[in-house]
């Protein structure tokens, strides 16, 4: 760890709520810690959260995020308490989030929380005596996804500075691509191709915020720049984010990635997707060397282990 990173890690935020709260050095620190976790023997890892209790509060359903967090906690020797569904908590009875957090903070050393209400994680962190990790708050932030996306890019491409990445599909409602834009803007010389139908374009304010730092090209044609990119980041066109079903049906099949489409890209292109997918990547693509989305999901474990390790040492 260089001196700069070490200094920055000392000022590491007490909660992980939004990728926008992190500097480049802090992001690199997390990536470096995740790489260590990837290689660390299991018996050594088991000591990191030994004797610690981690609350896993999922007010909204999740597969990858919840299971990878709980796997990470188990791998580090911690114990998990919590729920996977708000229906089994007192929240259903009308208890406020503040009261839930004031209760749980006395049971656990750290809180991992997913909530369907936007800003719930920051509110929880504001009232909690224990560190909070945001595992997604509605359409707002999902910072651990962005950390694992960056870790995957670094691991697969060997660098983040200077990469060329295409983001395709739902760029309007997709929180993963919004956060990725802001995170990549902290790095140097990154080219971003934004591929979407007109109705699902990247919001103008995000382009305005990042255009001085990223080289941005917008297009509606999926294959136009495929031969130029290191990474193709595909996103699901999410039904639940649409104001009406008619609009959803109109655009859902806009950007389906098949072996033929992928054949137009470079052989070393990496195809990423935050998952779950519906039909935007055909299953025939899964066995192609370019398809790294399951590896990407697997990277969620060392990244979350790294964040749990860092925050477990934080005093609020």
């Amino acid at each position: 760890m260089n001196k700069k990173t070490q200094t920055d890690s000392e000022k590491f935020p007490k909660d992980v709520l939004s990728i926008n709260d992190f500097s480049r050095a802090q992001i690199e620190f997390v990536i470096a810690e995740a790489a260590k976790m990837d290689k660390m023997p299991r018996d050594k890892k088991q000591k990191i959260l030994k004797g610690k209790v981690i609350a896993s509060l999922f007010f909204e359903p999740s597969t990858r995020t919840r299971l990878s967090f709980e796997t990470a906690i188990q791998n580090l020797g911690g114990k998990v308490i919590g729920f996977a569904d708000a229906d089994v908590s007192s929240y259903k009875k009308g208890e406020s989030l503040t009261d839930t957090i004031h209760t749980v903070e006395n049971y656990a050393d750290l809180i991992v929380m997913r909530h369907y209400i936007e800003g719930a994680a920051r509110r929880a962190a504001e009232v909690s005596k224990k560190p909070v990790i945001n595992a997604g708050d509605g359409a707002n932030q999902h910072p651990t996804q962005t950390f694992l996306d960056l870790y995957t890019i670094k691991k697969e491409c060997g660098k983040i500075d200077g990469i060329s990445i295409a983001m395709a599909g739902d760029l309007k409602y997709g929180r993963t691509v919004h956060s990725l834009m802001y995170a990549l803007a902290k790095f140097n010389n990154v080219q971003v191709y934004l591929i979407s139908p007109a109705s699902l374009k990247m919001p103008e304010y995000i382009i305005d915020d990042t255009k001085g730092k990223l080289k941005i090209t917008e297009t509606s044609k999926l294959d136009k720049y495929l031969d130029k990119v290191d990474v193709l980041y595909s996103t699901r066109i999410q039904k639940e984010r649409f104001p009406d079903e008619v609009e959803y049906e109109k655009v859902r099949n806009s950007y389906i990635i098949t072996p033929k489409v992928l054949g137009k890209g470079r052989k070393d292109l990496k195809l990423m997707h935050p998952l779950p997918r519906v039909n935007e990547i055909t299953t025939k693509v899964d066995d192609m060397p370019q398809a790294i989305y399951f590896k990407q999901a697997a990277n969620g474990v060392p990244v979350r282990e790294a964040l749990l390790k860092i925050l477990a040492g934080v005093k609020k």
Partner: protein, 173 residues
Amino acid sequence: MLPKVHRSDGGPLRRGGEEMSGNRKKEIIRIKPIQNGTVIDHLNQGTAYKILEVLDLKDYTVTAAMNVESRKMGKKDVIFIEGKELSEREMEKVALIGKGATLNIIKNGENKTKTKLEYPKMVHGTIKCINPKCISNVEKVSGKFDITENPLMAKCVYCETRMNEEDIVSGIK
């Protein structure tokens, strides 16, 4: 100094008094002098109405002069509030609408403090978030916003929704 208020025809107004011209007694606008209270001067034309909307002033004597001629501004609005000093939150509200205006606190008929209004860096409990899914609209949590200018923008600390000037003014509680 109290603000200079002029008739719409450009002639001077004597606050609370009358102006005579020859033998003809001219009808003038009467503005009661403030002995104790607040004068918000140099408001951009058309903003006095918006400010009166967001301040709860039903228990006070309030006079608003609108479209008043001003050498510096062309036209300006002025608000006189008798017997009230604005709280910090009220000043935030006024500043969000009337940046650049001058806030004068009057005590015993004299101008005690004069402050040029600037946008606050952060507001808490002053604006309502436009995002209905924001925690501040779902639970008993006061809205908190970071304010930036050029152009004026408020970013919700909780849900990170951005609000433009129009949203901010209509969202003032």
